[in-house]
Amino acid sequence: MSGATGVWGALGTLIRRDLLLALRRRAQVLNPLVFFVIVVTLFPLGLGPAPNLLQKLAPGVLWVAALLSAMLSLEAMFHSDFEDGSLEQLLLVPQPVFIIVLAKALTHWLLSGLPLLLLAPILALWLHLPNEAILVLLITLALGTPVLSLIGAIGVALTVGLRRGGVLLSLLVLPLYIPVLIMGAGAVDSAAAGLSVGEHLSILGALLAFAVTLAPWAAGAALRISVE
């Protein structure tokens, strides 16, 4: 009944489409990454570079930067598709709507979360974070950034029809991001202090499982409403 390609085929096509699109706007691919690096470098400039102060700040700065860079790249998720009418075309694709949202969230993560993961160790070294904390930082980022993308998708889907609802988006999404931030930064902090991090990681894992199962449905429903 549904298209020849099937659900997974459509998902693949959509992801390929968005990645290709991102590639065409190379600037945009680098956006979250550059932003991340910039935020992290601004701190030594603004604070003065005392190594022991920086080390204390490192988990907070890194996680706040990751969160901000995820949040700021959210808006682009549907914006251009909405503006040029492609979003209507996507909504008329003979596949469940959550597929679209899932593809978007995945691409967002591939472009904003994954590069962060790769770059974070370098920046962490730069901020004098001890080695064992860096491993934990990576694990928390790996668990936490997909949650940011998924929850973010709900927020953007709700605000896509509104003209540039930047703040609105932040206000919707941020309260839901804070647990991720606290757990993420907390885990790194504990690791740097040589404490156990199991509980923090469990909670992050739970958040991820929750987000993966529920966010696409919620975001799909939101999308259909707000495009009207």
Binding site: A27, P44, L45, G48, P49
Partner: protein, 257 residues
């Protein structure tokens, strides 16, 4: 002057003149750099404080000078291109940026390598170091902007504005060691003054001249390539291409027969 700019600004004229110039400049460059390296690394004495580490100077200082000089030259060329619409100036500006960025990068790296043993740190946020880092960012921004436009003319004009605005950074780099008390050492060489002993000064100056010429060589080569690329639809380039193709054909023919 005006006439000269226009004459030299004509791509075809430039191409033929620069073609004749290039081998001479390249030869001089190799000569100077080899000589400078020999004098600097082998015959010149070690410093009374820094010992052998001082030899980093013969790379660091010439590339630092180049990094600033090239930026200024790029900004001037960009301004000329913007105001008088001279294609060659646009090309010179565009082509200079990556070269300048490389010298800036070399300055930063050699400075860091030198800083670790001398100062005890790879990096400090002092005024000289920070402003040099900003110079690298400015180069990168210029290159990025240049490549973001599809239309070459727009790219040249837009990035010219950036190059001109960014030029304020150069005097800041140069005077930073006087204006602020930095970790970086103060000026050793000025107009008519030097606190570097002659035995070290000569190799340094020779290396500096060699690096300047190195820039000129790379600049000429890349500009020539770019001129060909941009003028590929013009008659003189096609003739040139045909001539070259003919020559190749002739040569390969000889080999096979």
């Amino acid at each position: 002057m005006w006439l000269w700019i226009h004459k030299f600004g004509s791509p075809k004229y430039f191409y033929s003149v620069s073609g004749k110039l290039l081998p001479w400049v390249a030869g001089a460059t190799v000569l100077l750099i080899v000589m400078g390296l020999y004098l600097g690394l082998v015959t010149s004495p070690a410093d009374y404080q820094q010992r052998e580490t001082v030899r980093i100077m013969y790379i660091h200082v010439p590339s630092a000078w180049n990094s600033m000089f090239i930026y200024l030259l790029m900004a001037v060329a960009a301004a000329i291109g913007l105001i008088w619409n001279i294609k060659l100036a646009d090309i010179v500006a565009a082509v200079s940026a990556p070269i300048g960025a490389s010298f800036t990068f070399i300055t930063l790296v050699t400075g860091s390598l030198w800083g670790k043993p001398m100062w005890g740190t790879w990096w400090e946020w002092d005024a000289r170091l920070t402003s040099e880092l900003i110079l690298l960012f400015l180069y990168l921004g210029y290159i990025a902007l240049q490549s973001a436009f599809e239309d070459r003319r727009l790219a040249a004009r837009a990035s010219a504005v950036l190059a001109i605005v960014g030029a304020v950074n150069v005097p800041i780099i140069y005077y930073s060691v006087q204006w602020w008390n930095t970790l970086h050492q103060p000026q050793s060489l000025g107009v008519g003054m030097s606190t570097i002993h002659l035995s070290m000064l000569w190799p340094l100056l020779i290396m500096a001249l060699g690096f300047k010429l190195l820039y000129v060589v790379i600049l000429l080569m890349r500009t020539r390539a770019e001129v060909l690329e941009r003028e590929r639809n013009n008659a003189w380039v096609q003739e040139l291409a045909q001539a070259l193709a003919g020559r190749d054909f002739f040569r390969s023919g000889n080999e096979y027969r």
